[in-house]
């Protein structure tokens, strides 16, 4: 493929991935890896390298804005990322020891249940009752942001912090073992278990995914999986898209963000179940 055509096409694609990633708290790998490999014919190693850069670019572009507006909660992010990175390190050591097909199947079923709960919560704009979780109070896992769409300040406090921490550790283990991104799991744990407002969940996930990606970016770099001419249009497009996405998300309802998130959960659930059955979509 001509370099000029490739650069322009990937730049436009990445712009879209950045917008979606910033709104949904995902790194864009779930979108970019299949697109780069299937539609552009990029080798999987280079596509994974581009994906890890796209995660960091989405995070930097989106979290910079979300932290300033209070949508992203730095304390919640740092607290939970301890569990995620610990889990990822555990998963990296367990890889090859524990059979992954059973894990994929279990994960697929867990995600199917998450999809069901997401459907049940579709109409919930904000959590109704105030949390009295001891850990949330002790670690100050609460916040306030101005909701542009609702035109009022929203105060919240995390619930079930211990459950969320364990779920983040599990997500990290699976991420380390199966080599999958865990942005979607982070959002689900914060939305469903910790009952944070959906927009806070995706915005905080945006901050966290940058840290977890940074932890593994060095591997891809030293392996030679990061090709400047492939990654450069991805990084530029995703950064610009992430900035646009933050502007769009600020004007959305929590329920709209959750509706947009649902197809991602369903896709992940199906792909994990199929992988568990030995059928790989990619």
């Amino acid at each position: 493929m001509s370099l000029t055509v490739f650069t322009v096409a990937v730049l436009c694609t990445s712009l879209g991935a950045g917008v979606v990633g910033a709104i949904l708290g995902l790194g864009g790998g779930i979108l970019l890896v299949p697109i780069l490999t299937i539609f552009y014919g990029v080798d999987l190693h280079y596509a994974m390298g581009a994906s890890i850069i796209s995660v960091i670019a989405t995070s930097s572009g989106a979290a910079a804005s979300y932290l300033r507006t209070g949508l992203s909660n730095l304390r919640v992010g740092l607290f939970l990322v301890v569990a995620t990175i610990t889990g990822a390190l555990t998963g990296a050591f367990l890889a090859g020891v524990v059979p992954t097909r059973w894990l994929e199947l279990i994960l697929g079923l867990a995600l199917s249940y998450s999809a069901y709960t997401t459907i049940r919560q579709l109409a919930d704009e904000l959590p109704e009752d105030v949390s009295t979780d001891g850990l949330a109070i002790r670690f100050d896992l609460e916040g306030t942001y101005h909701d542009v769409r609702l035109q009022r300040d929203i105060s919240y406090r995390a619930r079930n912090v211990a459950g969320g921490f364990v779920a983040m550790y599990g997500a990290g283990v699976l991420s380390g073992m199966l080599g999958i991104g865990s942005g979607a799991f982070k959002v689900l744990a914060m939305d469903y278990l910790m009952r944070l407002p959906m927009k806070v969940s995706t915005a905080t996930s945006n901050f966290m995914i940058g840290l977890t990606a940074a932890a593994s970016a060095g591997i891809y770099f030293s392996r030679g999986d990061i090709h400047v001419l492939i990654v450069a249009p991805v990084a530029i497009g995703v950064l610009a898209g992430a900035y646009l996405g933050t502007q769009v998300m600020a004007h959305m309802r929590n329920t709209t963000v959750r509706k947009l998130f649902l197809p991602i959960v369903v896709y992940l659930a199906l792909s994990m179940i199929l992988r568990g059955l030995g059928i790989h979509l990619l």
Binding site: M1, S2, L3, T4, T7, Y40, G41, D43, H45, Y46, I53, I56, A57, S59, S60, G61, A63, A64, L67, R68, G70, S72, L74, R75, L78, V81, V82, I85, L89, F139, D140, E142, G143, T144, D153, S155, G210, L211, A213, A214, A215, S216, A217, G218, I219, F221, S222, R223, G224, I226, H227, V228, L229, I230, V231, A232, P233, A235, I236, L239
Partner: protein
């Protein structure tokens, strides 16, 4: 629940992410622009798979030393400028957490200074383990 103003540490981390992102973006764009100006885009058919023999293709840098060599050589290797931008982007989250530590300490929040230190330590351990496995 008490109203809490947006904490200054959030602003500090946001600023680092913004500056790191923009600096990385500028260097990557500059690298691509210089590559185009040197005729790199003319008739270039991009190889989308790694070479079988294990040789390093143009545009792939495996270490900071290789990038430094590309930046020092004359004429300058434009792709090394782009690679430097990617390294800046990769380092940005780590730098943000590093600066959050004194930010939390100055704000009198020793508990989260400790948590940020723990996160930074784990990032460094991950890098060292990656180096041990793949280096």
């Amino acid at each position: 629940m008490p109203e809490r103003p947006v904490f200054p540490v959030e602003h500090l981390v946001a600023r680092v992410l913004l500056v790191g992102g923009l600096l990385g973006l500028t260097l990557i764009s500059l690298g691509l622009g210089l590559y185009a100006a040197h005729g790199g885009f003319q008739g270039h058919v991009l190889a989308l798979s790694p070479p079988v023999a294990g040789a390093t293709p143009p545009g792939v840098f495996r270490s900071l030393r290789q990038i430094a060599v590309g930046l020092r050589q004359r004429p300058l290797d434009p792709l090394a400028v782009g690679a430097l931008g990617l390294v800046v982007l990769m380092a940005t989250p780590g730098v943000a957490v590093t600066l959050a530590i004194p930010g939390f300490l100055l704000a009198g929040d020793g508990r989260f200074a400790l948590i940020a230190t723990l996160v930074l330590t784990m990032l460094l351990v991950s890098l060292l383990l990656a180096g041990a496995v793949h280096g």
